[in-house]
């Protein structure tokens, strides 16, 4: 029973396949006040950049049917302050800490990865897909050439497991995933938020200063699931599925579609205890269906 949910993902043992998504769980401190977050398989840090960022001004969130649009703009303390103030407590947790790295330029990505890689972290998630950085123009993960470049160059400086977080707005997400595999990524996570738009009809103006922003929540789930399914049949490295997961049934769909683990993001905002509840429900499902380990159901739906 203890090993019911245990999985191996890119040579790392996770006690269960439930991981909290970047930008929705801080560095774990806030939710640790609400429940025992060491029940989780892993947690991905807030997206970090080489230098600190104060994020986007004005409105940062807008509600939509079955989802939300955010334009936080990667507010974060910068990699050095993170290593000093947050990394020790993240590392001390009995779960897999994953460090999410973003950048504006190739040089930023390389330098940030070098710094964090020197700290012997369990895993790095390379975010090449945030729609909320204006300076960046097009995220690296939209085009094949820029994806290849950023994965190749960061791979050279990252010693441990490297997971690349893909954009659903990629020109061809299957090709992008293959490029990550070819360039030596150990895993991919998909999908990040969709580039979206909202208009305030009362003001007759765009809601976000940045014009477009990132859509998340259950409204994106069926599309994210399709992308995980398509990618999983085309690569050998493991996939962490992300996109509107709210319940253990959603988790099962992603696992059946080919994800070895999953990330929960927006659902944390709706129910702060969703992480522990999904783990409990998933365990009950496996017990009730006489499945001895969760890996038995991964990718069995073609």
């Amino acid at each position: 029973m203890g090993k019911l949910l245990e999985i191996q993902f890119a040579d790392i043992i996770f006690k269960n396949p439930i991981v909290m998504a970047s930008g929705t769980f801080g560095f774990g401190r806030e939710y640790a006040e609400i429940y025992d977050i060491e029940k989780l398989g892993g947690l991905v840090s807030k997206g970090l950049t080489l230098h600190s960022r104060s994020g986007n001004p004005a409105i940062r969130v807008w509600e939509t049917a079955s989802g939300m649009i955010n334009s936080v703009g990667l507010e974060n303390p910068g990699i050095d302050a993170f290593i000093k103030n947050e990394l020790p407590s993240m590392k001390s947790l009995n779960l897999v800490p994953i460090i999410n790295i973003s950048g504006l330029t190739l040089k930023d990505y390389i330098q940030a990865c070098e710094k964090i890689s020197n700290e012997n972290v369990d895993m790095i998630e390379l975010n090449i897909s945030c729609p909320n950085i204006k300076e960046n123009g097009i995220p690296f993960g939209i085009r094949e050439s820029t994806t290849r470049e950023v994965v190749r160059e960061t791979r050279k400086v990252v010693q441990g497991p490297l997971m690349v977080k893909l954009s659903p707005d990629a020109e061809n997400i299957v090709k992008i995933a293959r490029i990550c595999e070819e360039e030596g990524a150990d895993a991919v996570s998909l999908v990040n938020t969709f580039k979206a738009f909202a208009i305030d009809i009362h003001k007759r103006k765009k809601v976000f200063d940045n014009t477009y922003a990132g859509l998340s929540g259950p409204c994106i789930k069926p599309i994210a699931l399709r992308m995980v399914h398509e990618v999983s049949t085309n690569i050998k490295i493991p996939i962490m599925g992300i996109g509107g997961i709210m319940t253990y049934q959603d988790v099962l769909e992603f696992l059946l579609a080919g994800a070895r683990a999953i990330q929960i993001g927006t659902a944390n905002f709706i129910n702060p205890r969703v992480g522990e509840e999904i783990i409990r429900d998933l365990e009950n499902y496996l017990l009730n269906h006489q499945i001895s380990n969760v890996s038995e159901i991964i990718g069995i739906v073609h």
Binding site: G23, T24, F25, G26, R29, E30, Y31, E33, I34, K46, S54, G55, I59, R60, V61, W62, E63, T64, A65, S66, G67, M68, N70, V72, E75, G217, T266, N268, F269, I270, N271, P272
Partner: protein, 236 residues
Amino acid sequence: MAIVAFNQQLKNNFYLLKIAGKYKADMGQFYMIRKDNPSMFLGRPMSVYDIEKDGIIFLYQVVGRGTSVLANCKKGETISINGPYGHGFPFDVNGSIALVGGGTGIAPLFFALKQLRKSNKMNVIDVFLGLQKKNDFESTFDYYSDRLIVVYGGFITDYIQYEHYNIIFSCGPEIMMKKIEQQSRIYHIEHYVSIEKRMACGVGACLVCSCQTKEGNKRVCKDGPVFRGEEIFYNG
């Protein structure tokens, strides 16, 4: 999940929502309230209006889709409530206090008023309310305060005699709180403001409610919603 004890419509699209159960919160703290409905995805942050033995009460005004969904909640229906969250008004205060509220900003001040009155430690507790129109709750403020001044459709800040107070708690439109902060500086008044922002998580993780302060970005949900006035209105 909790049960709606009542959801009473007042004048001018204001509602009083009572959720059954045992609750404990500091004055100025808030809860995330959510009804499972296709038109409402995120919870809404609501400051505590009152706590009774068998439930907690929130005062809100219908302003959009989310609050319309809440307005349709009937007695006996389930509703989701998470909290209490954030840092509220300080309790280690004394002297003479003015509680100044505008619009729905009056909600946390009623809870503060009752708590301060119960503690029996203030010399004077005066209440100033700025409302668009006459409503049903003014008299309940009157009962607990030494003096109540209500202004309909005008600037409540014009009616405060600042020299009488050592401390002010305010909650309402930004322009109102800013004006009070300017006066507080002149009269050396300790001024605390409760800030309203769109939120998602409510616990300090998602950073959608960041606000600029004298000491850099702070999270309204976690570091606030109550701040020193000088932290927020630092440039003028």
